[in-house]
């Protein structure tokens, strides 16, 4: 659309800007705007310590949104994030109660639980052909039920292990929080998978047209299954990190991550219909959401106002560049 109208101006711009997705540029422009507004409100908003703290908080959402992005690229959605996060956190903490082996296996066990939830989602979507938003809502309800039954209304062991706390709050590299390093590693792996491997190309292919991908000889069902398993695992890992950050697991800790994780992916220019989007956009979306949350909490906005602003901002930004084509 903009190619023809502003082609002359765009043509003279450096190559990396010409190639960038307008949605990603908009998201980064909004980040700059938010930083500007924030700096007007408080002097300390642009200090390195504060920004690093924001990046650390963003990394939890970043890990969860990475899995969500993989699923959205397929043209599906994962609504089981809330209880995948909670199950990952609670199971990791619960495993720590079983002696030294339990402590050692706490993190892998938490992620394993998330992967299992993801596999149920994946089987439902890929093999039983159930719409993803329905089956993931159902597994979310089952995971919630399991957690409620398991904890018996109160948490058996809900304190995080030292390893979980170290991953979320420690500093392996001086000055850079571990959580940020983990997000960077997961992000780099995701970029590699999406752009340099056959699996990644298949994901984009299925998102564009699953029928065409199937006819090209791709086992599309296996790819969908793997994507959902990865999404579940990453949600649970996000939960493990969150438990380490808060040093305990709680039942409703994942509720606050469903809307932000979808919003971060979609605001970053990934098409909700699948097949189009870049990880850079998701990074921008995650930072954008985190800064927005941070500014609202600095302004001491009550929960009600935050929810309203949140919903309005997401609808407004989607109306700006997330609309479906008008043609029929």
């Amino acid at each position: 659309m903009s190619e023809t109208t502003v082609g002359g101006i765009v043509g003279r711009m450096p190559k990396f800007i010409r190639r960038a997705d307008p949605a990603v540029l908009t998201a980064f422009a909004c980040i700059v705007l938010l930083l500007f507004v924030g700096s007007l409100y408080s002097r300390s908003f642009l200090s390195p310590e504060y920004l690093l703290q924001q990046l650390k908080v963003a990394s939890f959402l970043g890990v969860i949104a990475t899995g969500m992005m993989l699923v959205i690229l397929l043209g599906q959605i994962d609504l089981s994030v809330p209880w995948s996060v909670a199950a990952g956190a609670m199971m990791a903490c619960a495993a720590a109660a079983y002696g030294p082996i339990g402590v050692a296996l706490a993190i892998p066990f938490g992620i394993f639980c998330g992967v299992m939830i993801g596999i149920v989602n994946g089987v439902g979507v890929a093999y039983l052909r159930i719409p993803s938003m329905i089956i993931t809502l159902a597994t979310n309800a089952v995971a919630q039920g399991l957690m409620v039954v398991y904890t018996g209304g109160f948490s058996p062991q809900d304190s995080a292990t030292p390893a979980m706390r170290y991953l979320a709050t420690g500093f392996a590299i001086p000055g850079v929080p571990n959580a940020v390093v983990i997000w960077a590693l997961i992000g780099a792996a995701m970029v590699f998978v999406l752009t340099r491997t056959g699996f990644g190309r298949t994901v984009y292919g299925i998102g564009n047209r699953e029928r065409a991908a199937y006819l090209s000889g791709i086992d599309t069902r296996r790819v969908v299954l793997i994507a959902f398993a990865v999404s579940g695992g990453l949600s649970a890992f996000g939960g493990v990190l969150l438990a380490g950050y808060a040093s305990k697991a709680a039942q409703s800790m994942g509720d606050a991550y469903l809307l932000p994780s979808i919003a971060a992916v979609v605001l970053g220019g990934t098409s909700i219909l699948g097949g189009r989007g870049s990880y850079l956009g998701t990074v921008a979306g995650v930072i954008l959401i985190t800064l927005l949350q941070s500014i609202l909490s600095v302004m001491q906005m009550p929960e009600a106002g935050r929810q309203i602003i949140y919903g309005v901002v997401i609808v407004a930004m989607l109306l700006l560049y997330g609309r479906a084509p008008a043609s029929r």
Binding site: I134, T139, V148, T220, I262, I272, E303, G311, V315, G322
Partner: protein, 326 residues
């Protein structure tokens, strides 16, 4: 084929839901310590009707091949609003009821406008508007509280002639006033046609946009009737996030149990009502069999999972594997 066989084929989902409900309700009442009495029926209908209204709302949107993940939040918002407005003298109460229903209609219309004229995906758009509606509900009732015109509330939740639960009568009235005219109107046909095949409907000159818009707006209205009833039962307004989410989730379960196709264009709100009543009864079976209430969320989740998996049986009828990919 004879006419009645067409009718039977069309109503298969609804009849199946009706059958499930009758069987479940028979098991429920026969194991209930009080047995099949007017009191038991009244309590069960009061609980079931809440979900039935929300499920009807969800049906209207699902028929257009969309989904409304904000119904639970509209339900909460109107509950909180009703706890402020539906109080005082007869005329004040009447104004309050109208205002509450109007708010629901407005919420639904906003959803419809964003989805149809804004061309956003229903799932993302309604999650976002759901957050807004929940925020407003929280603004109205930061803490549970408020009150309602108790005469009206008692009349609505009581019994007519000492036998028939009033809530069931209201449900029937709403079906006759909202659902039957809508499904038989041009707009209703357009909503079905849009859900069945939007391109074909567009090519045939069916007014799909007004039809879909009416479906979303009426969904808001039906959710508001549900919210109003919640206020009549509890006498208070409460913005409980978990409860709003649960109602959204259960409405989808009820719709699926009621034989409404999630791909759109198939099913009826009457099926969804029986789906809702059946879902509630199944959930309550735990209590008559003396299970720990702790198991209820898991039990309901498993029912939901089984209900949505039942749709997979259609796969056995697929002759060409390419039909897997819609």
């Amino acid at each position: 084929m004879k006419d009645w066989r067409y009718w039977l084929a069309e109503q298969r989902g609804t009849l199946l839901a009706f059958g499930i409900f009758i069987v479940m309700f028979a098991i429920y009442t026969s194991n209930h310590p009080a047995g099949f009495t007017a009191n038991v029926v009244q309590t069960a209908s009061n609980k079931g009707v809440l979900l039935a209204f929300v499920a009807m709302a969800q049906t209207l949107v699902v028929i257009t091949a969309g989904i409304d993940l904000s119904v639970g939040m509209i339900f909460l918002l109107t509950n909180c609003l009703a706890s402020w407005l539906v109080i005082g003298t007869g005329i004040e109460t009447a104004f309050g009821v109208v205002a509450v229903l109007g708010t629901g209609l407005l919420c639904g219309a906003i959803n419809g406008a964003i989805v149809i004229y804004g061309r956003l995906q229903p799932i993302v758009a309604t999650i976002a508007t759901g957050a807004v509606y929940f925020g407003i509900a929280l603004l109205l009732r930061p803490f549970p509280g408020g009150s309602v015109n108790e005469d009206l509330a008692d009349a609505m939740t009581g019994r007519l002639f000492g036998m028939v639960p009033a809530s069931l009568v209201v449900l029937l009235a709403v079906v006759l006033v909202v659902w039957v005219p809508f499904s038989r109107s041009v707009l209703g046909r357009a909503a079905y046609a849009a859900g069945s095949s939007e391109t074909a409907a567009y090519m045939s000159g069916v007014p799909i946009r007004p039809g879909k818009f009416a479906a979303y707006a009426l969904a808001g209205l039906l959710a508001a009737i549900g919210g109003l009833f919640l206020t009549f039962f509890t006498y208070t307004g409460e913005a409980a996030y978990a409860s709003g989410n649960a109602y959204t989730l259960f409405s989808i379960a009820a719709v699926v149990l009621g034989g409404v196709s999630l791909f759109g264009g198939k099913g009826s709100a009457i099926g969804a009502i029986f789906g809702a009543l059946a879902f509630r009864t199944i959930g309550d079976l735990l209590f008559v069999f003396d299970f720990d209430p702790l198991w209820q969320p898991l039990f309901q989740g498993v029912i939901l999972l089984i209900a949505v998996s039942l749709g997979a049986f259609a796969l056995f009828r697929v002759r060409n594997r390419l039909e897997w990919f819609l």
